[in-house]
């Protein structure tokens, strides 16, 4: 079809050389409705009168029966159904269609296929953010703070967004320079893994937390590092006279290293600080490697001292991380050195050695370190350094670590600054993970552990925790809360398979003994999820039964609807198979506990929601149907005059979802009786009734093909389509009509009627008449567009292939076209009267295009009509020049084709209006 766009037009008037139509004021037009097609369809009679034809100067129309044209839509009183059939006689323009090859045209219109090249830019390719950019942004944030203006030192979150950095890469970038400090990242990870061998690999590794802390606690304030490499003179006494050579060398060594040197580094940015600490970390390693153990110790002491300074408090957590990195390095160096001493040529110490395996030299060295550290003057460094080599206690005694821990813990009490002391505790906890499990603790602590640690970690040790819960001191913190916390963890992570049943038994033993219904339900609610997750309906049934037993006395359930609702939700979440769900005996009795209507409806909604979400296959399972009908009925019965529209819509949606999933397969009787039952049950919800109609329509659609008589089928399709249309089931109607159309080619020439073979033509004709008149009102667009569509419709493939060159059909067809065309012209005139000039113009052009596309313009009358239409389109200056130009170009292009040469002449007759 040639380009035909409706655009906005400039207003022009009265200058056209040809006025194919009478001017508006002279037209009399009775009712012409262009409203909703379904309404048009109900229109009993449309009359259109035309007067003053004489004023139409020189048109083909004038030559014809202009002025006498009458169109009416006849109503055929055929039962309740009304259908319109155009029977107008207004042979103004005989229709002559041109030959078209749709396939070829389609092929020529298609876009050229271009082979796809992978690897090139593609709009759907994931966006990659270049790291270099984000780094730059970050650096701006941290270094520009040297300038005094504070505004420049802060990265504007909006501008950073404009920079194209997404929050994730920002995060990565902020973490990045800090992460540079972790030169030994891989070794650290390995060490973390080693350490985790005691607590389990599922313990959240420090490396994770570390990165988070560094990224989160940053500052633009100035930092300072104060390192005092003081000599240890006086500590060991100044009388070196009688000292052994070795001690003397030691002391000299002490003096050598920047004796008394005080390094105070002020005005450091965060980045500088990080770099300095990394330098210290490096010099620690260097000192160690060059056997300067004392210097190494000094560095560690000085670094830990920095932790007593809380001046830039928001940076403290990051400082803690950086410095404990150094401590970790130190702890590792000491441990590995001592460990290496235990290795002689013959054997390597196993990872889990006992102190007896360590040789005397190793022990002596280890002891030396402890003595040395015990004499560190200041509390904070002494604490940190000792904690850093806590692991070395393994060389000395089996219980060394666990004996040390309480002492170190008490030692922290001496730290006056609360922040410093809390971080000291944190460090101790981190290094003390090694002795996990050896502590018995209070219920409160246990609960904190269960809520703070990762669920996976807790879950794998569920049995240990149950043991600890049983033994712990309950004062001030009831045990059912502990079981609740444990249950919460188990809902998130799975315990080892072998423990699962035992865990449930142990826990439920305690839960079921809870007297207070509130305590009970709070606990039980959490454990239902665990039960559903890992066990079968049998266990779930037991649990539900237990809940019912606890909650029924004194109507305790009335106070616990939220928890009970949660239980239902969890059960539904894990039992997607509704036949299994409803075979859980206590499920429906459980539902009966919801006696408050609003809650009951809520629960029903949840169930239906889950059903719609999870039920994949249509079902006819009587258990499901019964139960869900009951559920739906509950929902439906809650509807009353006060129910909100929204609520009704929701309920209807849910019930409809259910109805859609019910299928009895080929058993249509059952299906229908189900619909009947549904109808009687859900009569208050209109959308449900609509759904039922849909369902019935669908039922028809399925049933019709099973009939034998082809005309019976055709007519039933038509009738069903009309019913569907009347009930606004447009897509269903469409399906019926399509089915009918595809059935038409199968109509045999002769059919058997009352034992005699008769030609089928008359039947077909009658059917088609009905069919087309119905089609006429099938909404395809709006207003007159319908007719144009019909015009196109009349040449559709199916008809063509059916009737091929049947002249009779063509004649009929042409006749139909003529009628349609006459009507369109009438309508155009009516438009002029209504002063809908733009509409007239666009419709005229559309009409022109249709004729151009389908009509044979070698026919003079058509040719003339198209010229008239062309002028009409441009009249009043309403035409879009661009469209007109394009159309003309199209005609000229077409005229170059061999059998279209006549268009050249036409093109010459089509003037273009210039806008002046």
């Amino acid at each position: 079809v040639a380009p035909a766009e409706v655009v906005t037009w400039a207003v022009r008037s009265g200058q056209l050389p040809l006025t194919s139509m009478a001017s508006a004021e002279n037209e009399v037009c009775a009712v012409w409705s262009v409203a909703c097609p379904s309404q048009t369809w109900r229109l009993q009679k449309v009359q259109c009168g035309l007067s003053g034809a004489g004023q139409v100067p020189s048109t083909n129309m004038a030559a014809g029966d202009a002025g006498r044209g009458g169109v009416w839509m006849g109503s055929r009183a055929d039962g309740p159904r009304t259908s319109g059939h155009v029977t107008g006689k207004m042979a103004v323009f005989p229709w002559h269609s041109r030959n078209r090859n749709y396939k070829a045209e389609f092929a020529s219109c298609r876009l050229e296929a271009v082979p796809l090249e992978f690897g090139d830019y593609h709009p759907l390719k994931p966006i990659t953010v270049t790291e270099s950019k984000t780094k730059k942004v970050n650096r701006k944030g941290s270094t520009s703070s040297t300038s005094s203006s504070s505004s420049s030192s802060v990265v504007d979150p909006l501008s950073s967004v404009l920079d194209g950095t997404d929050p994730l890469s920002m995060f990565a970038a902020t973490a990045d320079p800090v992460a540079l400090a972790a030169a030994t990242d891989s070794s650290r990870r390995k060490r973390d893994r080693d350490d985790n061998s005691v607590v389990g690999s599922d313990f959240e590794p420090w490396a994770n937390k570390r990165g988070e802390i560094l990224a989160r606690y940053t500052t633009t304030e100035k930092l300072s590092i104060n390192l005092f490499m003081g000599s240890e003179k006086g500590k060991a006494g100044t009388a070196t006279l009688a000292m052994s050579e070795k001690v003397r060398t030691r002391l000299e060594e002490l003096d050598d290293f920047e004796e008394g040197s005080q390094k105070e580094l002020l005005n450091l940015t965060q980045q500088d600080y990080v770099n300095r600490i990394e330098e210290l970390n490096q010099s620690l390693k260097d000192a160690w490697a060059s056997d300067q153990k004392v210097k190494a110790l000094k560095i560690v002491i000085q670094c830990s001292k920095l932790l007593s300074d809380t001046s830039v408090i928001q940076f403290y957590p990051s400082k803690f991380v950086l410095i404990t990195d150094i401590l970790d390095t130190f702890g590792k160096l000491v441990y590995e050195r001592i460990f290496s001493m235990c290795v002689d040529n013959r054997s390597v110490l196993p990872d889990h050695f006992s102190p007896e395996n360590a040789n005397d030299t190793a022990k002596e060295t280890c002891l030396n370190w402890f003595f040395k550290i015990a004499s560190i003057r200041e509390l904070i460094p002494r604490f940190y350094v000792e904690a850093s080599i806590l692991k070395c206690n393994k060389f000395l005694s089996k219980t060394g670590i666990s004996e040390c821990l309480p002492r170190l813990t008490c030692m922290i009490r001496g730290i006056g600054d609360p922040l410093v002391s809390v971080y000291a505790r944190a460090y101790l906890c981190r290094v003390a993970r090694l002795t996990w499990g050896s502590v018995s603790c209070s219920a409160l602590l246990l609960n904190s552990v269960m809520s703070a640690f990762r669920a996976e970690f807790i879950a794998t040790r569920s049995m240990d925790f149950i043991g600890m819960i049983k033994e712990c001191d309950e004062s001030g913190f009831p045990k059912h809360l502990l079981f609740r916390s444990l249950g919460l963890n188990l809902a998130l992570a799975d315990p080892p398979e072998s423990d699962r049943l035992q865990i449930l038994n142990e826990a439920w033993k305690v839960i079921t003994k809870l007297k207070n219904p509130q305590d009970y339900i709070n606990c039980a609610e959490v454990w239902v999820e665990y039960t559903c997750k890992h066990f079968t309906k049998r266990e779930v049934n037991t649990v539900l039964a237990d809940v019912i037993k606890h909650m029924t006395p004194d109507r305790a359930f009335e106070d616990s609807y939220p928890q009970l609702q949660l239980i239902i939700k969890k059960v539904i979440a894990y039992f997607h198979d509704f036949s299994v769900l409803f075979s859980v005996e206590k499920f429906l009795p459980f539902l009966d506990m919801f006696q408050k209507e609003s809650v009951r409806v809520e629960v029903c909604k949840c169930i239906m929601d889950a059903f719609i979400k999870h039920q994949q296959e249509p079902t006819k399972d009587p258990v499901i149907l019964n139960a869900l009908l009951h559920v739906c009925k509950t929902m439906h019965d809650s509807v009353n005059a006060l129910t909100l529209e929204d609520e009704k819509r929701m309920l209807s949606y849910l019930i409809n979802g259910f109805i859609k999933m019910v299928s009895f397969g080929r058993d249509f009787e059952q299906q229908l009786s189900f619909y009947v039952e549904s109808r009687s049950m859900f009569c208050n919800l209109e959308p449900v009734l609509v759904q039922l109609i849909h369902a019935c329509v669908a039922y028809c659609f399925i049933t019709i093909p099973s009939l034998a008589g082809i005309f019976t089928r055709l007519n039933l399709y038509l009738h069903s389509g009309q019913v569907a249309l009347a009930n606004q089931c447009l897509s269903q109607a469409d399906a019926f009509f399509k089915a009918a159309i595809s059935l038409i080619p199968e109509v045999p020439k002769m059919i058997n009627i009352d034992g005699k073979m008769r030609p089928s033509e008359s039947f077909l004709l009658e059917f088609l008449c009905n069919f087309f008149s119905t089609l006429l009102i099938v909404p395809h667009g709006r207003g007159a567009g319908v007719y144009l569509t019909v015009l196109v419709c009349s040449t559709v493939d199916s008809n063509d292939s059916l009737y091929g060159g049947d002249s009779k059909f063509l004649a009929e067809n042409n006749k139909l076209c003529e009628t349609v065309m006459a009507q369109i012209l009438e309508h155009l005139k009516a438009l002029a009267k209504d002063e809908a000039l733009k509409r007239q113009s666009s419709l005229g052009l559309s009409f022109f295009n249709s004729i151009l596309a389908h009509g044979d313009l070698r026919n003079n009358k058509l040719n003339q009509l198209s010229v008239n239409l062309w002028h009409l389109a441009q009249r009043h200056g309403c035409a879009d020049t661009r469209t007109m130009v394009k159309t003309l170009e199209y005609i000229k292009k077409q005229s170059k084709q061999p059998d279209m040469t006549h268009l050249t002449e036409l093109a010459l007759r089509l003037p273009l209006q210039t806008r002046t």
């Binding site: 009388a239 006279l241 050579e245 070795k246 004499s375 509390l379 030692m411």
Partner: protein
Amino acid sequence: MGTALDIKIKRANKVYHAGEVLSGVVVISSKDSVQHQGVSLTMEGTVNLQLSAKSVGVFEAFYNSVKPIQIINSTIEMVKPGKFPSGKTEIPFEFPLHAKGNKVLYETYHGVFVNIQYTLRCDMRRSLLAKDLTKTCEFIVHSAPQKGKFTPSPVDFTVTPETLQNVKERALLPKFLLRGHLNSTNCVITQPLTGELVVESSEAAIRSVELQLVRVETCGCAEGYARDATEIQNIQIADGDVCRGLSVPIYMVFPRLFTCPTLETTNFKVEFEVNIVVLLHPDHLITENFPLKLCRI
């Protein structure tokens, strides 16, 4: 490099008791064969006493320093003059540890005015052309466990402005109440000094609480004796304004070599004390002194 001489004592911690046998090897390592005039090994134990400058005049202190007391001394000829082959030669040795005459093997102690030290010295005499080689090595003597039962002697203490002596203007002191205890002032040298300190109340903020370990050395001589107290180490047990009413542990490991069981002889004495030092803001220093008795069991 030429010839190296080394002494390796068998015990890693080099600790021996009276009556035991000190054993080890002398290691001679060299690329070439070594000519020598004999190798000897000397074991020596001495007490060095020194008078402090405070007790007597500086000049006197240097001059009058008491003559070292030799506790043990023996030399053995390990190898007669000859030649060591190239490579490493190990020569084992054994010394029974017996004091001279009726003398006692005091425990090793490195102090300021008193030093008790035991050494092994290996000498390789060589021809005139080559320098003699000497290697010295200290070993440690622990005195024998004391006989009799060890009885702890706990001590409780309370410190308030009123309990202080040596205060010029008592009225200027901020109010405070410190309570605490030491688990025992009789201490086993291998066990830490332990106790608790509670700051019950204090008007002034606490700056620091420290444990000062002090040695008290007394040297007797004809003219009388000199008694000097010097600090061995100072251990901070509280840093900053600690929580009131929460006990802060008192804990101090006795450093090796710098401490020994409390020692009392005719010529000298070595005793120990601990000071609990509390520093208050802005500048108050409170010291509570506890004499200790160290022993080895």
